[in-house]
Symmetry: C2
């Protein structure tokens, strides 16, 4: 089968409410709107069914399959689109994960990414967060096949680690989706350079989707969902407000860049120190 | 011995002539000027004794010790400063390398970095270069101790590879020096994001020094020598013209950033795919 070359991606930069059912209803509507515009793949933000706050994670968590993942699967099938389901708090046995569930056009589960690198930072007088108070870290890199190409999923702080994004690229991923909620300190300082450099270094499309900025929430997301191309250039970028933005991306362009600037071919894994 | 915390770095963004002796004289003067300003470490650009052009590399090449490395060693001793000697074409046995020689305040050789990743690109209608026509790739990561910290050296295209810069960081490097000549295509597109993201990801000072822009040369260097701090912010940046720019950097600031945003501690080498 010839893989499809041109792909339309929809990024749903949702404003997140405290109430889970409100979030699910809003996500479902956003996915429907995205589908009406003819997208192939729609992506939701990190923690799209729950405020990004340790005090909400247990209460909003669910096991798979559950209310949220059923909505995602049903929407994927009904709309006939791929869905990268942002992330939600997942309960599994006695553990909780920050987890992303992806579905194909038939509503079948493609993969679950459980956030590997938990966000434990303490920038004095500016921002403190400790995901590890609630969550257990995931242990697996997530890359699955789609009708377009191999596709990777990471969550937010995961994208800080060049090794993880490189790993996904080495596993064949050519589009990497990252539901992510940077904040008003790390966002302005690091969001654009990290998005752009990961896309450039790995010669992939890098698609990151944030919640909309809610000035009233305890943790204020930066917004600025964006798609970066394999030459490191921004294809499209949201502002901080609630919106759905679209990008058309091309698999041929990846091959062109990889031929002209053969970074992946020029790697020297015989030389690098890894631990 | 207590390591020195505050370090003054001088970046000599030289205009390169065809004639080797003119370049050596200019470099020696620049190092003297830098020293008069009280710098601890001075750094020269990639190919500071030779135009960046395959047709000049053999003719300007020398074995170690040779005319250029003697000048560098003598200048380091005379001025009492560390010198990261940009790079030059080195002849060694039957091979040629793009090599960087570093010297301490006594003029003693600290390390030789031989460019590992050769610059072979062909961006159609824009820029084509093939270093591998002349050079043999180096095989070793370069990190050596100074009175400040462990210090790494890479050359230009080497900085495109996150694994190499991470390797240097894992070997303990807290300042990474990169003599580099990006061009008028890759410079505007990639120079700033790559410099900033490497510093940020590895929580190091990243110091890159370019030749000044010579519109008459076959390969036109981008310029914009710069220092980026471990938070990913630009400390100082040159324009495209010939100049010496200075930056004061602090080892304490590295420790502050690493404590607040513990990226290196949060790595998961048990999970990454490396080859």
């Amino acid at each position: 089968m010839k893989l499809k070359n041109d792909i339309k991606i929809a990024m749903c930069q949702m404003m997140i409410a405290d109430d889970k059912s409100i979030n699910l209803e809003k996500a479902e509507k956003a996915l429907h709107k995205a589908s009406l515009q003819g997208c192939d793949i729609a992506i939701l933000p990190e923690m799209f069914n729950c405020p990004y706050d340790n005090k909400f994670f247990h209460e909003h968590a669910e096991e798979y399959p559950g209310q949220t993942t059923k909505m995602l699967s049903d929407a994927a099938k009904k709309e006939g689109i791929y869905i990268i389901g942002g992330s939600i708090p997942e309960k599994k046995d006695k553990n909780y994960f920050n987890a992303s569930f992806s579905f194909d056009r038939e509503g079948l589960l493609l993969g679950i990414h459980r956030k590997i690198h938990l966000f434990d930072i303490n920038i004095k007088g500016k921002i403190q967060f400790s995901e590890s108070k609630t969550f257990t870290p995931g242990k697996e890199i997530t890359a699955f096949d789609t009708e377009f190409c191999t596709t990777g999923v990471a969550i937010c702080y995961d994208m800080r680690f060049p090794e993880l994004i490189r790993s996904m690229s080495l596993l064949g991923a050519k589009i990497i989706f990252v539901p992510a909620a940077f904040n008003m300190i790390t966002g302005p300082a690091h969001w654009h350079i990290t998005n752009r450099c990961r896309a450039l270094d790995n010669q992939v499309y890098f698609v990151s989707v944030s919640p909309a900025r809610n000035e009233k929430s305890k943790y204020i997301a930066y917004g600025h969902s964006m798609v970066t191309d394999p030459w490191g250039q921004t294809v499209v970028e949201a502002d901080e407000k609630e919106s759905i933005i679209f990008a058309s991306i091309s698999m041929d362009y990846i091959e062109k860049i990889r031929e002209e600037l053969p970074l992946l071919k020029h790697r020297r894994p015989d030389i690098y120190v890894e631990k």
